[in-house]
Symmetry: C2
Subunit: 226 residues, 2 copies
Amino acid sequence: MDAAAAQGTPVEAGDVVVVTQKIVSKAEGRVMAIDEVEASPLAIAITEGHRRDPRHTEMILRESRRVVRMDRGVIISETYHGYICANAGIDASNIPGSDTICLLPVDPDASARGIRDSIRQRLGVDVAVLVSDTFGRPWRNGAVNVSIGVAGFNPVISYIGEFDPHGNELHTTTIAVADEIAATAELVTGKLLGVPVALVKGYPYEPMEDADSHAIVRDPDKDLFR
Amino acid sequence: MDAAAAQGTPVEAGDVVVVTQKIVSKAEGRVMAIDEVEASPLAIAITEGHRRDPRHTEMILRESRRVVRMDRGVIISETYHGYICANAGIDASNIPGSDTICLLPVDPDASARGIRDSIRQRLGVDVAVLVSDTFGRPWRNGAVNVSIGVAGFNPVISYIGEFDPHGNELHTTTIAVADEIAATAELVTGKLLGVPVALVKGYPYEPMEDADSHAIVRDPDKDLFR
């Protein structure tokens, strides 16, 4: 908050404060040394011939509740939060030390709520908060930032039952604005700039006091790519 | 361009001009009446019990080169461009008439190049251009805008071989900045506002004269979700 004020863009009511997962995980003590871990036979077998340390692989398995795809060292799994991503969101970049890894926050919605509450207490303003992470996607090259935790706003807005300017009813359209805001913020934070927070100003989000990320995790019954 | 100047945000060198697919398709005559189409037995069978007209389904099949998933009227297919999306990108919203549908541009990269060239000719400035569309994703609710055509900039930037501030080498990170810019623009254009173009200012894209969207279509050999 002080940094934002110092650079002439103070946090104001109605901003979306986008905080990258890495800094949240660090603040919450989710960085660990891999020599605290013992690799299982499965983790060793998976990692055979791959650059990753088998103890790192072991932590990926421990942070997962389901493996979706596994091939040549690549693990796409469902985390206990319900997110499907590579390596259970664990990585080793932007943290000190070559034998340390960083896990996702235990409850990124709670992280977002905590940040939102502290901004309200300290500055007296209501903002939306989003915790972002960088996920790959099927079919398309390149990762993009998405939302893994929200507070104070509706992450998925619905146009169902509304009409376009030509009078056509929209039957199915919902937009994951939280993911679009996370993507927007990545254009500013980048990967190597050491910028862990971005402010998105002027976006008219739908305030929602009890928002959480369940809205963004697709129901297994409606997912053709489980 | 006149509209941008009139609202006090003229197109300037270095802008990314994001144009939604619908207006490009309309400009290129990719709107058609479904009574020009005869539904095949497959299209009729697929659409049984579904709201969509079988002739609309027929056009989805004709615009596809591979069906990836098909269930209860939902068709996820690969278009001849290589994009995997619902309904081959065909829809019926934001066009006049209840029996008209809108197809994707034949070559969205060529569309983007044409827009870029005309801006250069008319205003004498170099910009990046991106054609955006709204795609759903596996595992996550809500669609987001992505890029389907680019001109003048690198759509997927690579950090491979670079080092983070802690000296860790990045081995795999590439970021689909074109998709992130498309997502950013959707926050401004929305779905019902009748805004077909957004300008993204101040983003330091990597200029690339011969850019195209092949960079963003994942190689089948590297795709675990074909």
